[in-house]
C-alpha cells in the first residue's frame, strides 16, 4: 500500500488496523515527493526530520492523529520557512510561532508537513506568479494548476499529499481545486481564524481544507473552525459536527441556479458537465430553483479595487526592517523603495500600485468607497437569493485550466476568469468545489468542478449536498 494515495479517513483506518504507523506514512510520503514532485513543482520545501519528531509522538486517538497535512506557504508553522513564494522572504524567514489553524491541527493530532507553492502573496489565479518556481497541473503538465493555492491543489491531486490547507481571497481554494480535480472548501468569513496567515486582503481572506473527499474536508473544517482571541473577525459561533452531515440525504433541499453564472463566456463543455451535476442533485431529491444575482457583472471590478487597496496596506509591512530582504541604500526611504522593488514580483507590484492609487487622497471616494457600496449590492443579491434557496450551484471557473503562459501577459483577462468565485468572498459566504467530471482538450482529460455556495455559516448544508453529489454522481 502506498500511503500517499490514501484519504484522511483511509489513513486513519490503516493506522487503526495496525497496517501503518505515522513514521511509515511520512517516510513513504517524503520519498514520493522526492521522486515525483520535481515534475509538478507543488512543494517549495519539506522537512522530514521535523515531521518525524512529531510523528513519533502522534496520538492516534485524536481526530486527525498522525495525519500529515501540506501547508500553503503563507501560513506560519513554528520552525518552518514561510516565504509566500516571494523573493522578499525566501530563505530569509523562519516562523517564530504557529498560526491558530496550525495550533488547532496539532491539537487534533495532525502533522504539518511540506510547504506548498502558490502565487506570490496569494495574488494570482494560475500559480504563474510564484516568485520561486512554476507549478504544473498533474493532469497535464503543460497547463496551470490554478491559483493562488495551486501547489496545495496539485500535491493533493497528484497523491503526494494526503490533504492540504489553502487560503481563498477571491477563489484561491475553489478554483485550483476545480482545475486539479479535488475538493476545496472556502469557509464563511469569520468561521476560521486568520491569525498567523500572511494577510492579502483582510476583509476577504479565509483559510480552508483542500482534500480528496468531502468527508475529509468536513473532518478538517471541524478541527480548524471556531473562535480565536487573536483574530477579532473570527466569530464566537458554535462549531457544528460537520462530519455528521456525511451520508445525510438532500431531499427537499432547494438549490438555486443563477442565470448570470451560466451566461456568455462559459465554455460549452464546462457548462454541460455542471448542468449534468445539477441533474444528479435533482435526482437525489433537491429542488432546482432559478435565481438571479444581477450585480454579478460588477463583481470583478469591485473585487480588484477592494482587494488591491487592502493588499497595498497589508504589504506595507515588507519594508526591510523587521524581516526578509533588505537592499543596501544610504538612507531609510531609499532602503524601503529598493528593498520592495527588488523583493516583490511583477503582479504584486502591479496590485500595490493599483491599491495605493484607489486609496490615495482625492480618489478614495471615487474608487474605494464606491466599490464598498457596490459590495453592499452584491451582498444583497445573495441575501435575496438565499431567502428562496438553501444553496446555489454554478461552475467554478468559466474555462478548463489553460496553458502556462497563455494569459500571463494580459492581467485583466486573468482577472475576468475569477467571475464565478469572487462574489462569495465579497458577500462573505461559504463555498465548495467538488469534482464533476472532465472535459477533453488536446487529447487530455481536464477536471471540472461544481461550485456550491452556502449562506453565511451554512457549511452544514454545503457539506451535506457536496457529499450527496460526490456519492451519487456515478
Amino acid at each position: 500500500m502506498n500511503p500517499a494515495t490514501l484519504t484522511i479517513s483511509g489513513l486513519r483506518a490503516a493506522y487503526a488496523a495496525g497496517d501503518l504507523t505515522p513514521v511509515d506514512a511520512l517516510t513513504c510520503l517524503s520519498s514520493e515527493i522526492e521522486s515525483r514532485d520535481p515534475s509538478i513543482g507543488g512543494y517549495l520545501s519539506h522537512d522530514l526530520k521535523l515531521a518525524l519528531a512529531d510523528a513519533k509522538q502522534a496520538d492516534l486517538s485524536k481526530p486527525l492523529g498522525g495525519v500529515p497535512i501540506a501547508i500553503k506557504d503563507l501560513i506560519n508553522v513554528k520552525g518552518h520557512p514561510c516565504s509566500c513564494a516571494s523573493k522578499i522572504l525566501d530563505g530569509k524567514y523562519t516562523s517564530p510561532y504557529d498560526a491558530t489553524v496550525i495550533r488547532k491541527l496539532r491539537e487534533a493530532g495532525a502533522i504539518p508537513f511540506g510547504r506548498t507553492n502558490m502565487d506570490e502573496f496569494a495574488m494570482g489565479s494560475s500559480n504563474e506568479n510564484s516568485g520561486i518556481k512554476p507549478c504544473r497541473n498533474p493532469h497535464d503538465p503543460d497547463r496551470i494548476p490554478g491559483g493562488s493555492s495551486g501547489g496545495s491543489a496539485a500535491v493533493v491531486a497528484a497523491h503526494i499529499a494526503i490533504a492540504a490547507l489553502g487560503t481563498d481571497t477571491g477563489g484561491s481554494i475553489r478554483q485550483p481545486a476545480s482545475h486539479c480535480g479535488i475538493v476545496g472548501l472556502k469557509p464563511t468569513y469569520g468561521r476560521v481564524s486568520r491569525y498567523g496567515l500572511v494577510a492579502f486582503a483582510s476583509s476577504l481572506d479565509q483559510c480552508g481544507p483542500m482534500t480528496k473527499t468531502v468527508a475529509d474536508a468536513a473532518a478538517m473544517l471541524e478541527v480548524i473552525a471556531g473562535a480565536c482571541d487573536r483574530d477579532s473577525t473570527c466569530l464566537d459561533a458554535p462549531v457544528p459536527r460537520y462530519t455528521e452531515e456525511i451520508g445525510k440525504d438532500i431531499k427537499g433541499l432547494r438549490i438555486g441556479l443563477p442565470a448570470e453564472y451560466f451566461a456568455a463566456g462559459l465554455d460549452p463543455a464546462v457548462r454541460e458537465r455542471v448542468e449534468s451535476a445539477v441533474k444528479v442533485l435533482e435526482s437525489l431529491g433537491a429542488e432546482i430553483v432559478p435565481v438571479s444575482l444581477p450585480n454579478t457583472e460588477h463583481a470583478v471590478a469591485t473585487y480588484y479595487i477592494i482587494a488591491t487597496a487592502e493588499a497595498s496596506s497589508n504589504l506595507a509591512r515588507f519594508d526591510g526592517v523587521r524581516y526578509g530582504h533588505r537592499a543596501q541604500a544610504d538612507d531609510l526611504i531609499g532602503m524601503y523603495g529598493k528593498t520592495r522593488d527588488e523583493g516583490f514580483g511583477e503582479e504584486v507590484k502591479r496590485r500595490i500600485l493599483l491599491g495605493t492609487y484607489v486609496l490615495s487622497s482625492g480618489y478614495y471616494d471615487a474608487y474605494y468607497l464606491r466599490a464598498q457600496k457596490v459590495r453592499t449590492l452584491i451582498r444583497r443579491d445573495f441575501e435575496e437569493a438565499f431567502a428562496k434557496v438553501d444553496l446555489i450551484a454554478s461552475p467554478v471557473s468559466p474555462v478548463p485550466p489553460f496553458k502556462l503562459g497563455e494569459k500571463h501577459s494580459d492581467p485583466l483577462a486573468m482577472y475576468l476568469a475569477d467571475i464565478y468565485t469572487i462574489s462569495a468572498n465579497l458577500a462573505g459566504i461559504c463555498g465548495i468545489s467538488v469534482p464533476c467530471g472532465t472535459v477533453t482538450v488536446d487529447g487530455k482529460d481536464l477536471p471540472v468542478g461544481l461550485q456550491l455556495l452556502g449562506k453565511s455559516f451554512g457549511e452544514t448544508e454545503l457539506i451535506r449536498a457536496a457529499h450527496a453529489y460526490e456519492a451519487g454522481r456515478s
Binding site: L235, I305, D330, S360, R370, P411, L426
Partner: protein, 91 residues
C-alpha cells in the same frame, strides 16, 4: 494617474521599463473598473467586511504578544543592542 507619484506613495522604486509598463496596465485596469460609475449607489451603506461582528473587547491586561524579544528579532536583517538596526534617518 501618474505611476511615478503612486510608486513614491507605495515606497516602490521602479525602473523606467517598469514604470512604462505599469502605467499602461494600471490605466487599462482603471478604465475597466470605471464601469462602477454607472451604478446608482445613492443611499447605499458601504460594506467594509462581511462579518456580523463589531467591537470585540477583552480585559485590558498585557498578554505579552506571545513572542520573546529574541524570537521577535530572529528574522531581522540587522540587529544591534537587541533592536532592529536601520540606515541613518537624521544627519
Amino acid at each position: 494617474m501618474n505611476i511615478r507619484q503612486v510608486a513614491a506613495l507605495a515606497r516602490l522604486e521602479l525602473t523606467d521599463e517598469e514604470a512604462g509598463r505599469y502605467q499602461a496596465q494600471v490605466d487599462q485596469i482603471l478604465h475597466y473598473v470605471e464601469q462602477l460609475n454607472a451604478i446608482d449607489v445613492s443611499g447605499i451603506e458601504p460594506t467594509a467586511h462581511a462579518a456580523a461582528v463589531y467591537d470585540v473587547v477583552r480585559e485590558d491586561v498585557a498578554t505579552g504578544g506571545g513572542l520573546t524579544r529574541e524570537e521577535a528579532l530572529s528574522n531581522a536583517p540587522l540587529v544591534a543592542q537587541d533592536q532592529f538596526r536601520l540606515p541613518k534617518v537624521v544627519e
